[in-house]
């Protein structure tokens, strides 16, 4: 985590800040969701508490914390209490692996009579060179919080809901993994920062062996893989149990699915995990298909660095990183809004329609996408 105290402290604070960003995004997103769904349903949402109703979620948090706390009598108490905590872990670990901006170069400086050397602080908690494999690995652990919640509740409806939810989760993990193979064939790397770097130039592709560069269009993945992007988005909807795939949570069908016996802040921790997964899904979409933190030709690291050329090295680097972070967050917020928009527009799928869609429609389409991509790349890149 770093060689000396300053670096370790900054890295630790950075990881904690990213985690807290995920947690703090939940009240904001829930406010957006409630106001947006209200406007779509031709009514007002929460607009009494605080300006525009923004502190409604704070009031709700106080309400949840002071609710009565109990555990079912003959359930497995440890699993019952552990499942909401386990729900937070995969989303946090995945979010910290995704670069939200370019690294910050800090030149050496003097402080407290000691020379702190030149550092490079990456805008992520840790940088693996197997980036996407790590994110898939921790996302696949999300099925355990569902199963343990259902098991610890000692309620056969909760158990049945948990099994259905985890069956849905694992079915759509296949489509998610396979739709990413298409974009990886193009970029030939697993590491997120290399993928962002590859997308921060002009559109340049091979055409029967020759390279063609189009000057003013960015090299985004969506131009190469539109079908893959749609498949990834749909699979992410199912992974996060969001409508139209949220039958395991839907009330009235199975009482309330795997969180039947939960109340108060423990149930909210499941929702923090769900919104965290939404955040990871939006970040993955932006990184793979929409250029990450750069928009060529206006907002690449070089052009933004040129704006701040008057300031010193460290300050220019910090300002560049934060400007590009704002660009990335704008794109992520667009996709989060898309999640909310789809939720309140589409009706929900029945469970057998959902499983048929996952196995019989999305998996063949993802396979077809992979095969077509591979064949086209082979034809275009081979020097005939």
């Amino acid at each position: 985590m770093g060689n000396d105290v300053f670096e370790i402290t900054v890295n630790f604070i950075k990881m904690v800040v990213i985690f807290l960003m995920m947690v703090q995004l939940v009240p904001l997103l829930v406010w957006v969701e409630r106001r947006a769904c209200a406007y779509m349903q031709n009514r007002f949402g929460p607009n009494r508490v605080g300006p525009l109703g923004l502190t409604q979620l704070l009031a709700d948090a106080v309400k949840f914390i002071t609710k009565e706390e109990f555990a079912p009598g003959n359930g497995n108490k440890f699993m019952f209490y552990a499942a909401p905590v386990i729900a937070l872990i995969p989303a946090t670990l995945a979010l910290n692996a995704i670069p939200l901006s370019i690294p910050i170069n800090v030149a050496s400086f003097e402080w407290l009579g000691h020379t702190w050397g030149p550092y490079i602080f990456k805008f992520q908690g840790y940088d693996f060179n197997i980036g996407i494999v790590f994110v898939l690995a921790v996302s696949s652990l999300a099925a355990y919080s569902l199963l343990l919640a259902g098991y610890g509740s000692a309620n056969k409806f909760a158990m049945y809901g948990a099994l259905r939810a985890s069956a849905q989760t694992i079915s759509y993990e296949l489509a998610m993994g396979l739709s990413l193979v298409g974009i990886l064939l193009l970029f030939n790397t697993f590491s997120f920062s290399e993928i962002v770097t590859a997308q921060s130039g002009p559109l340049s592709f091979y055409f029967f062996g020759k390279v063609i560069t189009v000057a003013s269009v960015p090299n985004w993945g969506i131009i190469y893989q539109p079908v893959g992007a749609v498949l990834l988005m749909a699979a992410m909807f199912a992974e996060t149990n969001r409508l139209p795939f949220d039958l395991p949570e839907a009330e009235g069908e199975l009482v309330a699915g795997y969180h039947t016996e939960y109340g108060g802040i423990k149930m909210n921790m499941f929702y923090i995990g769900e919104y965290g997964h939404m955040l990871v899904a939006s970040a993955l979409m932006v990184i793979f298909y929409f250029g990450g933190c750069t928009i060529y030709p206006w907002l690449t690291p070089d052009t933004v660095n040129a704006w701040f050329a008057n300031y010193g090295g460290t300050t220019a680097s910090i300002l560049t990183a934060f400007v590009l972070f704002a660009v990335m967050m704008a794109k992520i917020l667009f996709f989060l809004w898309f999640f909310v928009w789809v939720r309140w527009t589409l009706p929900r799928f029945r469970y057998d329609q959902l499983m048929d869609l996952g196995w019989k429609t999305m998996l063949p389409w993802a396979l077809g996408n992979t095969i077509v991509t591979a064949v086209v790349i082979f034809i275009m890149r081979t020097k005939w």
Binding site: M1, T92, F128, F378
Partner: protein, 123 residues
């Protein structure tokens, strides 16, 4: 190795955060008496009939096993995607496409057979 330490520290932090939230909720909860009704499992208010162990269909088991198999096949495509450009630029493009094509053929045949034999029919 130096990359695993942040992962470990972060997961410990998240677990501690969750535990602290649960402890705070436990302290601040307006606890009533634990009557026996509260401790029963919730089934829309009707008393549960407790009819022996729950019978759950075997489809879940089939879904999980087929997921494992197809997941392993997808994992094999990841190194292929990583080195596809290298193989093509060194002239072995047809070879790598052909070998992975055979593997994909087996995968597609497996998926096709599994769909056709109605192994994953949900009601």
């Amino acid at each position: 190795m130096s990359q695993l330490v942040p992962v470990f520290v972060l997961s410990i932090f998240v677990v501690v955060f969750g535990i602290i939230i649960e402890i705070v909720a436990n302290i601040c909860s307006t606890a009533g008496k634990k009557t026996s009704t509260k401790l029963e499992s919730y089934e829309c208010g009707l008393p549960s009939d407790q009819s022996g162990p729950t019978r759950i269909p075997i489809k879940f088991y089939l879904t999980a096993i087929l997921f494992i198999l197809f997941d392993i096949e997808i994992i094999f495509m990841y190194p292929w995607a990583l080195t596809y450009g290298d193989f093509i630029s060194s002239g072995l493009g047809a070879y790598i496409l052909g070998s992975m094509g055979f593997f994909l053929l087996v995968f597609i045949f497996g998926l096709f057979w599994e769909v056709k034999s109605k192994a994953l029919e949900w009601e």
